[in-house]
């Protein structure tokens, strides 16, 4: 809903004594540019006075509207439309005050007009001055110069409007006074128990905690002391019980009787022990005699048995020895026989070997002779080949060097060339006839002749014709001669008649060279090394070998050159070797047998001697024993001694039984034990007496202190302290919850109202301060802006920024209020004085944009800054 001021007329208002009128204000952006002191602020004040101040009021403010020194009635007339509906307001103050509102519903006067205006524009009745918090929408949007910087929160009426429209919680913030009181009270109560920030215990709660802690400590201490006392009681009881037992033990008569009886027993035991010793000695004597006799008897038996046994053994040994001696003799004979056979075989083998050796030597000699003969033949062949080689070498040496042929051919070519020159350049003369004509003295033949040098043709008549061929032929002639001379000289040097001859010779020489190579190879093959004769490779070695051969008869003739029968001899040798090996084998085993027989015979002989010795010893022992005096009566004495020993053993057994029945040591030990027990009991009694005295003293001392009552008291106190703490904790918890919930409620309500405002403001502030979010307090006042770097309190921003934010937040409110159907119009008195040019331009752009939806009136003294601003431009004084 738009509120559009169309006309403002003022009269008798401050500096405007005369009637001033501004008409033609449009519903968009209006810029009124005037220098300072022209009355812009007065104009705004007049408009605010007309709308908000009651005509009948005579407050100081209203009186200040009178022009200085005049008692006239300030008057303001306004023409405006609200959503197109036209209104006209006339208001005069002080003298004959008037309020007159004319609108679509007719005309109203006086208070009715005031009230109609109030409800039309949504503000509260103003008492003394203008209270911006109760001026409603326009109070917020019509910004006097003095408030240009303030980021004032909107008044209750505005907030009511915003909140009411948004969430239907019109009274949410109105109740805030009560809310604050309740919250303060809860906070105060809470801080009785806990600190406001950290929530740690304080005041009464802390005291209660301390009390509980103290009570618990006291209880613990009391319980400890009491249980210590109780333990002392228990110990005392126990000690007394033990003392009774010990005393009973000490007083027991049974122990004494037992001890006396033990003393008697001990005496008896001593007697029995003595008797036992005696019997033991007697028994030992009898046992020794029996043993001695039995020993003699045993020895006699042994000697007798030895004699019998050794005799039999001797007999057996002797028979065995005889057999072994026979075996030995046989073995010796056999060894001798095989030895002789072996000698014979060895001799035969030696002879066969000798014969074979001789035959082999003969064969070797024969072979050597054959080899030498072959060497001789090779030598003869060699000599022949060497002769041939000498011949070919001679021929080969006549080879003509290749350069000679080249030189000759070149010279012949030169001759041909020079001859051709002469032929071509020569003077051809043709002679026919038969007259004697000589050429250089010789008869000139019929036909054509070519002259290459000066010639004289002598004619028959003696006249002479000199012919001079061209002079250059003389050189050719000369060169031809020269070439011929060189040709002849070269051939001579090469000892050849002609080139053809020379070539033929050369060919023969090369063929001879080829032959030479073949002969060389033949020689090489012929003079290969002969290892059998020790001849190295090469012609020289062969020649040397032949040269060194001794002169004389050929040994081949000594043995007739026959080949000896080597295989037969070889076989004879092998046969004799085999026979020898067999003979050696026979001889070896005969010798082995002999050795064994000798050893066996020796052993048999030794055993026989031993048996003889044994037999002799047995006979000797037996004789010795039988010679003893005791031996004579042995048969009678031994049974008698045995009977005596049996009697003694019985007596000993009895003595032993008696002694065991009364063990003196055991009796003594038991007596000692009884004594010790008694001493121990006495000692224990003394200890217990002491212990009891100690405990009694302690109980008397501690028991008198009323520990149980103290413990009971401490227990009660602990329980009471715990209960008190629980109560108080409960209370603190309750308060804490209440405190939190109050905060939560406040936050929630604030959020629901602040949200939409903040959202709109953000759209505007982003234009001027990109990346910045405005943060509104719960009173809808802009409190801070949030940048990427963090939050910044608005009061700390630069004045320019604060001023811009003030305008922007008003734009946001205006937009919101307009959407909610409030009559809005933005009037800015000298805004943006601190803004730099860039920001100012951006702000003017924004204002222009916003003016498409609502009327905006800018009053400014900054002509230049607003020169480029769009919108309608008006002058205050033009209207005069």
């Amino acid at each position: 809903m738009g509120l559009v001021l169309n006309r403002i007329a003022i009269e008798n208002f401050r500096k405007f004594r005369d009637r001033q009128e501004i008409t033609g204000l449009t519903d968009g952006l209006n810029v009124i540019v005037e220098p300072n002191e022209t009355g812009k602020s007065t104009l705004m004040e007049a408009v605010r006075a007309a709308l908000f101040l009651r005509h009948g009021s005579k407050t100081q403010l209203i009186k200040s509207f009178q022009p200085y020194g005049d008692a006239v009635a300030p008057q303001v007339e306004l023409d405006f439309t609200i959503d197109g509906a036209p209104y006209r307001l006339v208001k005069r103050f002080l003298s004959r005050p008037v309020a007159e509102l004319e609108g679509p519903d007719g005309r109203q006067h006086g208070d009715a007009a005031e009230e109609a205006l109030q409800s039309l524009l949504g503000f509260e009745k103003q008492s003394s001055g203008l209270d911006s918090t109760s001026l409603g929408t326009l109070g917020l949007l019509w910004v006097p110069q003095t408030e240009g910087l303030d980021l004032v929160p909107p008044g209750d009426k505005v907030r009511e409007g915003i909140g009411g429209a948004l969430e239907g919680q019109a009274d949410a913030l109105l109740g805030s006074a009560m809310f604050d009181r309740v919250r303060d009270r809860i906070e105060a109560e809470y801080t009785r128990f806990r600190t406001a920030r950290a929530g740690s215990s304080t005041g009464e709660l802390k005291q209660a905690e301390a009390r509980l802690e103290e009570a618990e400590a006291a209880l613990k201490e009391a319980q400890q002391r009491e249980s210590a006392l109780e333990a002392a009681y228990a110990e005392l009881e126990q000690a007394r019980g033990q003392l009774a037992l010990v005393a009973g033990e000490l007083a027991d008569p049974g122990d004494m009787e037992q001890r006396e009886k033990l003393a008697g027993d001990l005496e008896l035991a001593r007697g029995a022990a003595q008797r036992l010793e005696t019997e033991q000695a007697r028994h030992a004597g009898a046992a020794a005699r029996v043993e001695k006799l039995e020993d003699l008897h045993r020895r006699h038996d042994q000697a007798r048995r030895l004699v019998t046994e050794s005799e039999a053994e001797l007999k057996r040994r002797k028979a065995d020895h005889a057999i072994l001696a026979d075996g030995l003799a046989n073995a010796r004979r056999k060894a001798a026989e095989t030895g002789a056979a072996l000698d014979e075989c060895r001799r035969a083998r030696n002879e066969a070997r000798k014969a074979l050796d001789a035959a082999q030597k003969q064969e070797a000699r024969r072979r050597e002779r054959a080899d030498i003969e072959r060497a001789r033949q090779r030598h003869a062949g060699l000599l022949k080949l060497e002769e041939q080689r000498a011949q070919f070498a001679r021929i080969a040496r006549t080879a003509v060097p290749a350069s000679a042929f080249t030189d000759l051919e070149r010279i012949e070519a030169a001759i041909d060339q020079e001859r051709a020159v002469l032929q071509a350049g020569g003077v051809r003369i043709a002679f026919s006839g038969s007259a004697n004509v000589t050429l250089d003295g010789e008869n000139l033949a019929e036909g054509e002749t070519t002259l290459t040098r000066e010639a004289r043709i002598a004619l028959a008549d003696g006249s002479e014709i000199r012919i001079h061929p061209p002079a250059n032929l003389a050189g050719a002639e000369y060169r031809l001669e020269d070439a011929r001379a060189r040709h002849a000289a070269l051939l001579e040097e090469l000892q050849a008649g002609s080139l053809a001859e020379l070539r033929s010779r050369d060919r023969a020489a090369r063929d001879a060279a080829v032959e030479l190579q073949g002969i060389g190879k033949q020689i090489e093959a012929l003079t290969a090394a002969d290892e059998t004769l020790g001849i190295a490779a090469g012609a020289e070695a062969l020649k040397l070998f032949i040269a060194e051969l001794p002169e004389g008869a050929d040994p081949a003739e000594e043995d007739g050159g026959k080949t000896p029968p080597l295989p037969e001899l070889q076989q004879a040798l092998e046969e004799s070797e085999t026979a020898l090996a067999r003979a050696e084998e026979f001889n070896q085993s005969a010798l082995d047998e002999l050795r064994t027989a000798e050893k066996d015979e020796m052993a048999g002989s030794v055993r026989t001697s031993q048996a003889e010795g044994e037999f002799a010893r047995g006979q000797r022992d037996l004789a010795e024993i039988e010679a003893l005096a005791e031996f004579a009566t042995l048969a009678d004495d031994l049974p008698e001694a045995r009977a005596d020993l049996a009697r003694k053993a019985a007596a000993l057994e009895e003595a032993r039984r008696n002694a065991a029945a009364l063990d003196a040591d055991a009796i003594r030990r038991r007596m000692e034990m009884l004594d010790r027990r008694r001493e121990g009991a006495a000692r224990r009694k003394a200890e217990l007496d002491q212990e009891i005295a100690r405990l009694e003293t302690r109980i008397e001392t501690e028991g008198g202190r009323g520990l149980a009552e103290r413990t009971a008291t401490a227990r009660d106190e602990q329980a009471a302290a715990a209960a008190a703490l629980a109560r108080m904790t409960d209370e603190a918890e309750t308060l804490a919850l209440l405190r939190d919930v109050l905060g939560e409620a406040r936050e929630e309500v604030s959020r629901s109202m602040v949200g939409p405002v903040a959202e709109r403001a953000r759209r505007y502030t982003q234009r001027i301060l990109p990346g910045c979010d405005p943060i509104f307090g719960s009173d809808l006042g802009m409190a801070a802006i949030r940048r990427a770097s963090g939050e910044e309190d608005c009061n700390l921003l630069s004045q320019g920024t604060q001023e811009q934010l003030a305008v922007l937040s008003r734009l946001a409110f205006a937009e919101l209020l307009r959407e909610e159907g409030r009559p809005v119009s933005l009037m800015l008195d000298d805004p943006l004085v601190y803004s730099d040019d860039v920001r100012l331009d951006a702000m003017i752009d924004l204002l222009e944009e916003a003016s498409r939806d609502m009327q905006i009136i800018v009053l400014t003294c900054r002509e230049r800054a607003f020169r480029a601003a769009p919108g309608k431009r008006l002058r205050l004084l033009d209207a005069v």
Partner: protein, 368 residues
């Protein structure tokens, strides 16, 4: 033959759960009870006072407690026969040795089971407790106990009668027909804090000064008159000062609560009354606030001691309460949050309920 039968003095009981003033008063009242008993003896011309155990609250009372007790007893002409009970059982070097050291001729400590001839032909058979808990019937020996030339046999014991409000496992149990079996003319019992006749010869005297919220009546002792061949004549005599009242009220509004309070106060001596009050019911929040005011501003000051347990008293905000708060914007919202949590159940709901109540109290206070 006349005597006073009393028991369970519980001297030195700490009463730690009370504020200091009440604690002192209650402690002092227990000593005063001795005077009351002594006066009763004098008034009824009784020569003997039989105390059936638990003279002291603990086996190790403070020295001052002993001295105070003896000093009070010495003021009267009668003979005081003190029996060790389970709280003050007898043992070597224990409490009773301390008492004996300080006691004058008027006080006799019965720490053994030996019968005593109180006066010519009147035999007293004591059954002192020698341990806190005794498994065997401490009075069992009486059946065969010789009392040469007895005109009257009086038993004095401390413990529960078997099958009498305790289970069979409890210690210090006494046969219910002990008086008949032991040919007693009277069996004076202690341990049970109210006075009670088990049969015409077997009596609990109760404590002379009540010490807990268990029964309404104040403390008594018994004046007993014995004659050969006749049933004893037993008369209760009030000795107690304080009344310990325990009440459970289910209320639905402040007016009902107030009426109950008035009735209670009319029936007792408020300054000598200790009240434990359990409150239950569902009341409007405003009434709850009013009740709190009444309790804190009136009742608490009138009574000797007041203990309120109102965990089961649910203060429910009425629609009006909430509507009134709705106008309060943020406060209304806070109340709504708390109400929601209180109704959600769970561990926090009780806390939320208290917080809501508190909120209303504060708003009421601010509004006033």
């Amino acid at each position: 033959m006349r005597f006073i039968h009393t028991a369970d003095w519980q001297l030195g009981k700490p009463f730690g759960g009370f504020d200091a003033e009440t604690r002192n008063a209650l402690t002092e009242a227990r000593f005063d009870a001795i005077d009351a008993v002594g006066k009763a003896a004098a008034a009824h011309n009784a020569q003997h006072v039989l105390v059936a155990g638990d003279v002291f609250d603990t086996e190790g009372p403070d020295e001052r407690t002993i001295v105070q007790a003896l000093a009070r007893m010495e003021r009267y002409a009668c003979k005081w026969w003190l029996l060790p009970g389970n709280h003050d059982f007898a043992r070597n070097g224990g409490l009773w040795d301390r008492v004996r050291k300080r006691a004058g001729g008027r006080v006799a400590v019965l720490a053994s089971h030996d019968p005593v001839e109180m006066e010519d032909g009147v035999w007293l058979l004591p059954a002192p407790l020698l341990h806190r808990h005794m498994v065997d019937d401490p009075t069992a020996a009486w059946d065969d106990m010789e009392t040469p030339g007895a005109r009257l046999r009086i038993g004095l014991a401390h413990g529960s009668i078997r099958d009498f409000g305790t289970s069979g496992e409890a210690p210090n149990l006494i046969a219910p027909d002990r008086a008949r079996r032991a040919r007693l003319d009277y069996l004076a019992l202690g341990d049970w804090h109210g006075h009670l006749g088990v049969d015409d010869r077997t009596w609990y005297s109760g404590t002379p000064e009540t010490d807990r919220f268990q029964r309404d009546e104040p403390g008594h002792c018994l004046q007993v008159e014995l004659a050969e061949g006749a049933a004893p004549r037993v008369t209760p005599v009030r000795t107690g000062r304080y009344q310990w009242l325990a009440r459970s009220w289910t209320v639905s509004d402040a007016a009902g609560f107030r009426a109950e309070c008035d009735r209670l106060l009319g029936d007792c001596t408020p300054s000598d009354t200790l009240l434990r009050l359990n409150l239950a019911g569902l009341v409007p929040l405003a009434d709850r606030v009013s009740m709190i005011g009444h309790i804190e501003d009136d009742l608490r000051h009138l009574l000797r001691h007041l203990e309120i347990r109102d965990g089961d008293l649910v203060a429910r905000p009425s629609e009006d309460d909430l509507a009134a708060l709705d106008a309060e914007g943020m406060l209304g919202r806070a109340a709504a949050i708390l109400k929601e949590r209180a109704e959600a159940g769970g561990s926090e709901s009780a806390l939320a309920r208290r917080a809501l109540e508190r909120l209303f109290v504060e708003i009421a206070r601010q509004g006033a």
